[in-house]
Amino acid sequence: MRWHWIDRFEEFVSGVRAVSIKNVTMAEEHLHGYWPGFPMMPNSLIIEGLAQTGGLLVGEHNQFVESVVLAKVSKAIFHDIVRPGDSLRITAIAADIREDGGIINGEVHCDGNLVAEINLIFACLRGEMADIDQFYPIDFISLLRALDMYKIGVTADGDPITPPQFMLDAEKALEQSV
């Protein structure tokens, strides 16, 4: 997830559900080219918000050992448009997470109103693709901390979640190098 699209997590229950917030601002360039003269958020970017929320939910469940990619948009129904100033509440429910991927059912709300219903399928990369490092661990853990994942995240039993050791090692190595 090199492209940061969600702003922070409000809830994160490992392997169960995640809720993120995406604030939409007039400063975002994409709003101006999609429908000239009427700034609104493309529906594909609403899907991207759920993809990032759900993708991190699937990846975290396996301690980010495997690279998880969005493989299929099974369902995408949009009930309303999203405009500058809107704050999206993106809820991802893990319908199923297994060794080769995961299924996320999601809803996006704005001011309590349902904006979109989206179901996604994620796949764990296999074969040659799996051997390619998708992220630098230090960048990844910095992002996850910025999103508050490890501040508010808990296990299904309610215990705090912690970053995987390889990310902690990356942070430690950075500390020692400065």
């Binding site: 299929k72 099974s74 199923d96 297994r98 060794e99």
Partner: protein
């Protein structure tokens, strides 16, 4: 326990939803990959919906015998050996492997499974 007709109707519905295919494209003899256009990721979707719909658990290896098809004991030079065919028959009794057995090239295996095979598999799991 659902009747064969109920199993077929439910599976048909699942396939139409998962593969975005037309109602009249789905028949017992239609192959999932060749006729209905299923790609590997679609099987995750299909398996999940089968589990939810029929309250069953499906192990990936039941429908995708990768452990057999990647085993050098069972596959040589891209062709499944007699021992490999025996292992496939034991693992997947719901599949008609008779034609495949005549020329068991591994490249052809992915396009064997039909809607009818899937119905037989589910019927066995729910019995």
């Amino acid at each position: 326990m659902p009747t064969n007709e109920e199993v077929y109707d439910s599976i048909k519905e699942i396939l139409i939803e998962a593969l975005a295919c037309e109602d009249d494209e789905v028949s017992e003899g239609a192959t999932l990959v060749g006729d209905l256009g299923a790609e590997s990721i679609d099987f995750l979707d299909i398996v999940f919906n089968l589990e939810q719909n029929f309250s069953i658990e499906i192990d990936r290896s039941e429908l995708f015998p990768e452990d057999i098809l990647t085993n050098e004991e069972y596959v040589q030079d891209g062709v499944v050996s007699e021992a490999g065919l025996t292992a496939l028959y034991e693992r997947m009794p719901f599949m008609d492997l008779s034609t495949f057995s005549n020329d068991p090239r591994i490249a052809d295996f992915g396009n064997l499974m039909t809607v009818g095979d899937l119905c037989k598999f589910v019927a066995k799991k729910t019995s």
